[in-house]
Amino acid sequence: MRRLGIAVVTAVAVAAALTAAGLAQDVKGRRHRVTIAGLQFTPADVVADPGDTVEWVNRDLVPHTVTARDGSWDSHGLAENATWEMHITDSTVGDYFCQYHPTMHGRLVIRRR
């Protein structure tokens, strides 16, 4: 019974530590917002550090996607006022576009230190 109690306390402590670590990561990274309006990504270029988060919010009345030019990531359809976010890593940077409106372009750039 005592062993079970220790196991439960340990599991709770580990979960809390992981959660705290996740939160810490969120707090550590900056958030960037890209507004989709008038069929444009604004700002078109986002310069970010690995661990930052980029959030896209669609203010147009028609749906859009945020899709990597190389196909490695994709928000899929975002309806009006929908948001989508992505953590920045070395592999998520590069050009992106809207699959529904291929004339819409944006770019994620890793900050060089």
């Binding site: 009345l61 028609v62 009006e80 699959q99 409106h101 004339t103």
Partner: protein
Amino acid sequence: MRKREVVLGVLVAMLALSSVSWGQSPAALNDLEIAHVAYTVDNSDIRYAHLALAVSKNPTVRAFAETMIRDHTAVNDRALALLKKLKVQPQANAVSQQLLDQSDQVVDQLRQLSGRAFDQHYARNELSYHHAANELVEKTFIPKIENPEMKALFREALAIFKTHEQHAQRMVDTVALQR
């Protein structure tokens, strides 16, 4: 067969909105009549897009058609919601009837085409249709509309349809290069 398709393609191009000689001046329409014309223009393009999805196997054409259905439906839904809020109904008029008749002719002509001939003429029709509709909305309808919410919606829709026009130009260029 090829010669027949070329002739039909020319006929489709001649039926584009830009070649219309209006029986009633669009500049003489009131807000509710303009709303009816805009709804008709949207629905005609949705109709062409459904035909394209039924006929074409070209991924460029199909993707464009799916976007037209998605976007024009969204704009129409917003327009209908605004009219409901304002407690008014769009008013049928001679201009929208003329557009409906023209749309019937375009669909009849496109139905007689297939393969590359269909793709090319669908693409060209979309380009000329959006160009003419954008001119009509920007130069005639927006300055004329009195209701501020309706004017704002038309401005928002115009930005969408101008992007469609650019997209249609890319589709024309892409289809022309394909064999």
